[in-house]
């Protein structure tokens, strides 16, 4: 990032770096435990409210959003990640504080029973809660996995407005100390992250704010859809790097930064929440696709370097990084040094095979540690680097439809986050 010479880059990157620096200053980055769990509501009796609110984007513009939230909490985008268990009767009670009817559908669930009296009406796809009304849905998930829920009332408008969320079904025999995504050892994992992808066309939100959904009739915004913001877990880059529940993003509680250690198995739960297909490219290594739409596929699993995420579909994949067969020692060991856990022994002690270019010819990334080796931090010229706390290897995970890596024309941003392979011993929460 060349601040002196190119005004465009300076403006955008400076904002980017500033937000991250703010995050470091707050100390929210510090680890607490050894494993990351997905943030959400756990249980089988969920009480949600659909209501409106405003989210403020990194480019300074705000967007009027409709979202689900816990009845005792904020409206949020996306809605709470609901975590229930296979075979468990699960009930969701929805209070509608929106100015229009709304509802919920749960693809992948069979026999969803809707219940409601006064304040409800039968909509086209689901029993709807009228403004001020309450409706409840119950079902018993038969198979574990990653699902999503969203509005069944004019979903072309209401999903765009923000009424969607992830639904995670733990297997019946779930053991938090030895977690598996399904009842299958091939689905065991050490770390677990959700990546719910979505997009927004702010023109639609403006019309709905002023005129309601009916204001869209006759406009071509739904058929000539022009998103300007692209989200992971309801945040755009670089907000995706921030931890869960930072106070200044009260309607966007979920972060999307993934962290793991070499050799660990990371479960990626990738959800297509919006209306477009997104190619989710995870730098660093291939991932093995173990399930689609909550249906286990370990017997026919395959590896990809980009996860094709279709609207309304989910993919579970296992990602692991070891650095094996790089042809040099990723830790920068001398031959006599001890092996790290998970290290690929044949490369141990091998030097990096090229001379790295002189510093004056290089541009440095904010997440560059100053050194090519895992766990090593070295000083960089003043003002460079500084966002890499532990010498972890940072990999960008992002939409490879690269036009989605902007926030309303300002790059970088959009549908991107980082995955950090932290050195062993660095705690991960």
């Amino acid at each position: 990032m060349n601040f002196e010479t190119d005004g465009k880059i300076m403006k955008h990157s400076a904002r980017f770096v500033f937000r991250i620096a703010a995050l470091l200053a707050t100390g929210l980055y510090a680890g607490r435990a050894t494993r990351a769990d997905i943030n959400g509501l756990e249980g089988s009796d969920f009480r949600l409210t659909a209501s409106a609110g405003t989210i403020v984007m990194p480019d300074g513009l705000s967007v009027h959003v409709w979202g689900f939230g816990p009845t005792d909490g904020n409206m949020q985008y996306p809605g709470p990640t609901l975590i229930t268990t296979q075979g468990q009767l699960t009930q969701i009670t929805l209070l509608n504080e929106l100015p229009e009817p709304t509802s919920m559908v749960f693809p992948g669930m069979v026999n969803v029973v809707a219940d409601g009296g006064v304040g409800t009406q039968q909509g086209l796809l689901a029993l709807e809660a009228l403004p001020g009304g309450t409706v409840s849905y119950s079902f018993t998930p038969r198979q574990p996995g990653t699902y999503l829920y969203y509005s069944g009332t004019r979903p072309d408008v209401q999903v765009e407005m923000g009424l969607l969320g992830a639904l995670i079904v733990r297997p019946m025999d779930f053991d938090p100390l030895a977690p598996r995504a399904y009842q299958d050892n091939e689905t065991a994992y050490d770390q677990e992250y959700l990546f719910l992808l979505s997009e927004m066309d702010p023109r639609i939100h403006e019309v709905v704010l002023r005129l309601g959904s009916a204001g869209l009739d006759g406009l071509d915004y739904l058929t000539d859809h022009q998103p300007q913001y692209w989200f992971i877990n309801g945040r755009v880059g670089p907000d995706t790097f921030l931890p869960n529940n930072v106070p200044w993003l009260k309607h966007q509680p979920y972060g999307a930064m993934a962290r793991t250690h070499p050799g660990e198995r990371m479960l990626m739960r990738v959800v297509g929440g919006g209306r477009d297909v997104h190619p989710f490219h995870h730098h660093g290594n291939h991932a093995r696709v173990i399930a689609k739409n909550g249906r286990l596929g370990t017997s026919a699993s395959y590896e990809v370097f980009t996860i094709q995420t279709a609207p309304g579909e989910t993919i579970d994949a296992i990602w692991t990084w070891t650095g094996q067969r790089l042809g040099w020692d990723a830790y920068g060991h001398a031959p006599g040094d001890p092996l790290e856990p998970g290290e690929y022994a044949p490369d141990h002690g091998k030097p990096i095979p090229v001379n790295l270019t002189e510093l004056q010819d290089l541009a440095f990334g904010g997440f560059y540690s100053g050194d090519p080796f895992l766990g090593s931090l070295k000083s960089l010229p003043p003002g460079e680097g500084g966002l890499n706390q532990n010498g972890g290897f940072h990999f960008m995970w992002h939409s490879h439809t690269e036009k989605e890596l902007v926030n309303n024309d300002i790059a970088p941003g959009g549908m991107m986050t980082m995955c950090i392979v932290e050195p062993h011993g660095v705690p991960i929460d």
Binding site: P107, T140, D156, G218, G297, A300, A310, P311
Partner: protein
Amino acid sequence: MKTPKRIAAFAILLATASASSSFAQTDVFLVAKEFTQTMPDGVQIVMWGYALDADGDLLTDDGEAASSPGPQIVVPPGEALLRIHIRNDLPADTSLIIPGQTTTLSPVMFTDASGRERVSSFTTVVAPGATATYTWNDVRNGSFMYQSGTHVAVQIQMGLFGSMTKEFEPGRAYRQPTPFHVGEASVFYSEIDPDLHAAVAGGTYGTPAYPNTLDYRPRYFLVNGEPFSAGVADISLGAVGESSLVRFFNAGLETHVPTALGMDMLIVAEDGNLLPTNRSSYSVFLPAGKTKDVLIQPEMPGRHALVDRSMALSNNNGPDGGMLVFLSADIPQELSEAQNKLDTWSKRVFKAKAKLTIAFAMPEATPAEQRAKARAVETWRSRLETARSRLSRAMNRLVQMQEDLDS
């Protein structure tokens, strides 16, 4: 699904087959013609489509109604030959191809202003007013689309497509291990950009006013030739527990993702090719020009929405339309009752659990309170026990019925 249209196609084909029963063959007589279709909002769209030539002579226009998609062509199992005889009543050259079916193609090329050759038709054309026969000698089983092979960017969008299907054997779409099916239905997606249709109909296509299809913007999204609107017929899947083959086609220019609410589908084939493994899924990824076959064994009776999750759910930018259709399944009475029991008892278990939790939280400072609490706990504990045992009985019964149905 047994729509009248399909029966008509079948009847013609059977008649033809029996008329020449000395050797196996399938002859279909189509007329490509312009017609006008009224959209749910009253807008009239000039379409190009296919009509079955009723008397099979292709000589005169007997006023047959064209449609888009065109008539369903069903080649009987075991039949290798398909001949489509066509008369072109359109104002432009046209042709017929079936992607995925083998035949000799004779592309029509033209030389552009820079001296480069370009293809205008993937195979031999039939000129306006003329007739031609397109032949396939080795028809594979599966689900395919027949379509125009000429100026495809325009002619497919104008409506020149239809389904061509063939079973492996009666009641089975593909070889083993594909199971037999009882019911059969088609879900045929297509799109309409009214501006493009108006440009073609008004003769401005290819002029600076509407130079080409690059700015294609569909505003109608159709299932089996109509956008959703109130009163559109459901697609019947037969009874609960019965397996139905549902063939998906996408003649649109964009990817769609038909998504079933409340039922799983077993995806068995793509472009007429059996997949290496069968995958159960609530949705089908359906890119432009793709066909996919699924088997559905409905577990629950009633209407299940099949919505396009890529959100093509409006009619000319009006609400509640587009690529939406309902799949309906009937239920054996006995099963329905068992299901209701299951629902009732699972709700009662839920309620009793909640009440018991409340009972446990009741105060017990005074003897009266202690007695009240003990009573409440006792009551709800026993009700929970009852509900649980009834639930488990209902579940066993349902499982037994499902197994009976499956076998």
